[in-house]
Symmetry: C2
Amino acid sequence: MRFSTRGRYGVQVMVDLAQNSTEGPISLKSVAERQKLSEHYLEQLVPELRKAGLVKSIRGAQGGYLLAKKPEEIYIGDVIRVLEGPIAPVECTDQYGDDCCEKTEFCVTREVWVKVRDSINDVVDSISLADLIKDSEKEGEKVNLFDDEV
Amino acid sequence: MRFSTRGRYGVQVMVDLAQNSTEGPISLKSVAERQKLSEHYLEQLVPELRKAGLVKSIRGAQGGYLLAKKPEEIYIGDVIRVLEGPIAPVECTDQYGDDCCEKTEFCVTREVWVKVRDSINDVVDSISLADLIKDSEKEGEKVNLFDDEV
DNA sequence: TTATATCCTACTAAACCAATCGGAATTTGT
DNA sequence: ACAAATTCCGATTGGTTTAGTAGGATATAA
């Protein structure tokens, strides 16, 4: 049960843009260096974010990418669904309200996957880019934000 | 972002056992027929559930599998984690409290994945086999249980 | 002793993942 | 006009994972 690198890198790129593109476009080269990712691979992912209206691109020298909206208006769920496809822990939860497999009897287990799907969507749709970079502004302290862990 | 068939089939098998093993062991052959799954493939999965203490096996003719505990005491999360491994939407959330990548700066995005992980675990650890088969006892009505959907 | 089961280890075909490669098109600065 | 920087685009690739299949060995009831 893993997200692929697509969603993970995508979120990293968006956060990086939010942190760095305050004045002018940011090249993928610099994002790749800061985030320690393959520039070529990002070239494959980021155009999808552009087509989805999450970033804007400026071509040519000194070009690069910019967020298309304010960090407060971009939710992690949007980024993930663009790069990973709809969140559907099993196939039959892909479309809402559809009935799934051709099982003759009522499919009992679907309830589980629907609840998982909805709960993931709730989480990722409740966190904006602004929420994430707010944390990073406390840079240097390195506090543990995850006090819910063991 | 999918669970593999392992987790899905595993839950199906456990539900099938809960529904059918009230008196005596159930063969994988019959489970496979009812659930329309490959018997041989189940032979690969179900022993893992046995080693994890979720089912008991009885070998030989008229043998088969039984739940090792009451349906009220078996949670979907247990089944899934046995067959899919720990729920960790990205690698660095695999162990609790561990810090992840060797990023020099604090990893902002990890917060997202930790919250997703915890929310999935909360859901699957709140649904027991008993909860699922309770629904199926209303068989025949075929009501839509998912009124939270569009 | 036969049929029915679980148990166990390999093997495999297909799909998917995470890139890499090689260039075309666009824009800025000199 | 030209070079450098950059996005854009399609093809290819090596490795891993998935979802099984194959072929038996072992155990037990009838």
